[in-house]
Symmetry: C2
Subunit: 139 residues, 2 copies
C-alpha cells in the first residue's frame, strides 16, 4: 500500500485524505503493531514536523467512526488501534505487552442467540504469555 492507494482507500470510505491522515494510516498499515496513541506519536514526531498528540486522537477517532480502523480495548488503561478491520482475534502477551493477530474463520465465531439485538462489533481476545517470552522464562 503506497500513499496513493491509502488516499484512495480513505476517500472511498468518506475520509478526506489529508496529509497527516494519510501518514497515520500509512503507519498503521505498514507497522501492523496495534499501537497506542503514544507509540504512534513517538514514532511519527520525527517524520512529521510539529505533530500534535491531539491530532492523533482526532484522526484515530475519525478512522474508527469511518470504519477504517478498530479500537481495541484489551487492557483497561489503553486503547490500541488496528487498520485491519476484518474479523480476527488478538492475543496480548502480559510480559512483552505485544499484541498479535490470529485468524478466525467467520463461521467459527460463536453467534449468540440474542433476538432483536443489533450487533455492530465482535471482539475476541486472549491474554497470556507468548511463546517467545515463555521460552525466556523457562531458561
Amino acid at each position: 500500500m503506497d500513499q496513493q492507494q491509502i488516499s484512495a482507500y480513505l476517500l472511498k470510505n468518506g475520509v478526506r485524505p489529508l496529509q497527516k491522515r494519510v501518514k497515520i494510516m500509512n503507519y498503521l498499515v505498514s507497522k501492523r503493531n496495534h499501537p497506542t496513541v503514544d507509540m504512534i506519536y513517538s514514532d511519527l514526531i520525527h517524520e512529521i514536523n510539529g505533530l500534535s498528540k491531539t491530532t492523533i486522537y482526532n484522526v484515530l477517532n475519525l478512522f474508527v467512526e469511518s470504519n477504517v480502523a478498530l479500537a481495541l480495548n484489551i487492557e483497561g488503561n489503553e486503547i490500541r488501534y488496528d487498520a485491519d478491520t476484518s474479523a480476527h482475534g488478538h492475543f496480548k502477551c502480559k510480559i512483552c505487552t505485544g499484541i498479535i493477530d490470529f485468524r478466525i474463520k467467520k463461521e467459527e465465531m460463536p453467534v449468540p442467540m440474542l433476538e432483536g439485538f443489533r450487533i455492530d462489533e465482535q471482539h475476541y481476545y486472549l491474554k497470556g504469555v507468548c511463546s517467545f517470552c515463555a521460552n525466556k522464562i523457562e531458561a
Copy 2:
C-alpha cells in the same frame, strides 16, 4: 448465596472473608450487573458506613488476582467487574450502556493455533443495540 456461602467461597480461594469483602462480593453475585467501581460505590455507600472508593479498588484487584472475579475491558474508559468467572460472552448496548451475558459452549470457543503460547484469559464481547433500546428507537 448468603453471607455464609460467600465467606466460605472466598476462603476456599485464598481470600480472607473480611466484612467489606463479603459485602462487595455479595453485591456482585446478587446484582449480576457487571458494575463499575462507581456503581458499586454509590450503591454500597448507603449500606456500609464510611466506605472508601479506594477500598473498592483494593478489594476488586484482590478478587481478580485471586480469580474470584473477572475484569472486563469493553469500553476504553471503564472496567466492569463480574463474579461469574466461567467462560461466557458479553454484549454491551451503546444506548443504555447495560452489559448482558450470553452463554457460549466451551467447544464453540474458537481455539487459535498459537504454538507454545500460554493462554490465561479468553474474552468474547459484542457491541451494538439491545432489543429493548432497538424497539424504543423504532417507535
